[in-house]
């Protein structure tokens, strides 16, 4: 019955289905530069991309943001990335150990600090790190410390402050740094430990303060080219991110510029 008339919906749908399969391969434009970046870079990276593209209009850049752990595991599983920007050295070392990055391309692109950030109105009246203890039952947002760099850094800092065990029952682990920040920004949770860079752009209704210098872990963002990349602009883009000329852009967005090797 379906074959009796040439204009049955079946053939229309089949035609569209074939079209959707074929069309993406007809794209003549150069392939995009695929950048896999830590979620905490999602606020600042578009500015770097805009700046990079003013010098090179041709290049298309696609970004994938997520916890560095999630991205590293995706790359391990064969995700088609050209550049990986991680929020900690561990995950970059993990890919390095699997020979998935070009070791010589690995470099530090920026640094960061941890901050305590409080929901609008600072409901628990937190003024310093120690106040987290007396804030009673209020839950605390941070990155999932099992794998998300933000959580691992917070673990280090609170361990150093001697607060980790006592606060443990009150932690709400987020899937990435932006998610932890969003919990507080939307007022779902009263307080959290986030990157200093995360709350700088819109701190007008949030209050917060950086952790004391003695508690700050060394937060270093490495970037590297993936072994598989053939993209002609990958190297240039990575270099662009880490050039001293870009220091001010990092600083404006609440990051610290890359520095001499730590320790």
């Amino acid at each position: 019955m379906a074959g009796a008339k040439p204009h049955t919906p079946f053939w229309g749908i089949a035609f569209l289905a074939i079209l959707t399969l074929v069309l993406p391969h007809c794209d003549k434009a150069p392939s995009p530069l695929r950048v896999y970046a830590a979620a905490s870079l999602s606020g600042v990276l578009p500015q770097f991309i805009d700046a990079f593209r003013t010098g090179n209009r041709q290049v298309r850049i696609e970004t994938v943001y997520g916890a560095s752990s999630v991205l590293a595991r995706q790359i391990e599983a064969g995700a088609p990335a050209d550049v990986f920007l991680s929020a900690d050295q561990d995950w970059m070392a993990f890919l390095d150990s699997l020979a998935l990055i070009r070791p010589l391309s690995r470099r530090e692109i920026c640094r960061n600090r941890l901050a305590v950030v409080c929901a609008p109105g600072n409901p628990l009246n937190i003024r310093e790190t120690g106040d987290l203890l007396r804030a009673g039952e209020g839950q605390i947002a941070l990155g999932d410390w099992h794998h998300v760099p933000l959580g691992k850094y917070a673990h280090q800092a609170l361990q150093r402050a001697g607060l980790w065990q006592q606060l443990l029952p009150r932690f709400v682990p987020a899937v990435n740094a932006r998610a932890a920040y969003t919990y507080i920004w939307q007022g779902h949770l009263p307080v959290g430990i986030v990157y200093a860079s995360d709350f700088s752009p819109d701190r007008m209704h949030l209050t917060g303060f950086p952790l004391a210098d003695s508690l700050q872990p060394h937060i270093s963002y490495p970037g590297a080219l993936l072994r598989q990349t053939r993209h002609p602009e990958a190297e240039a883009f990575l270099t662009f991110l880490s050039e001293p000329d870009r220091d001010s852009l990092w600083v404006e967005n609440g990051f610290l510029p890359a520095g001499p090797p730590h320790d």
Partner: protein, 223 residues
Amino acid sequence: MTDLLPIVALSLKTALAATLLILPPGVWLGWLLARRNFPGKTLLEGLVNIPLVLPPVVTGYALLFALSPASPAGRFLENHLGLQIAFAWPGAVLAAAVVSFPLLVRAVRVAVSSVSPGLEEAASVLNAPAWAVWLQITLPLSAHGILGGMLLAFARALGEFGATIVLASNIPARTQTIPLAIFTFLNQPGGEAHIWPLVLFSLILAYASLLLNEVLIRRIHHA
């Protein structure tokens, strides 16, 4: 392996609580949709089935928006009933309950529809009160179908991820059910060793639920 047992236990507990929570409203709604005609019925049907087709993440966000400590409803529940939904175990139960609710309602509806209205009418003619008709005719005759629906809902609740991680987060020992634990292990180097037992367990449980559901459905058709 031993550290996986609490995760499995929490999952079973959460899915069971969710299934029991939706049982009364699910059976009532399934019966209502099978036996009654009223204005707005189609609208209600749509509403009941929405979680079936909505991305669970959206369901979770809607629930978080409505019940977070920052919302009036969330504050009310916490201050007056001492019940914290968001970022706590009740949130994991609620997320699983909402997402599996339509499965139960649909199964009950089919089961109740399969009971011949003639039997109910005969009982009514014999002056049996409505509740007695329901308890002695409708319920026993649709019990297999309702049980099948509960199994499906239980299996779905056990696999719930998207709504749970948004509403209840992934808190070890409190809201970290099997799918969330698998997600966490997946993101750790060497986590695979923990994943396989959990995957195997999920698979066995899901398959057993479906199989049992199938057996129950066949019984209905033979009855």
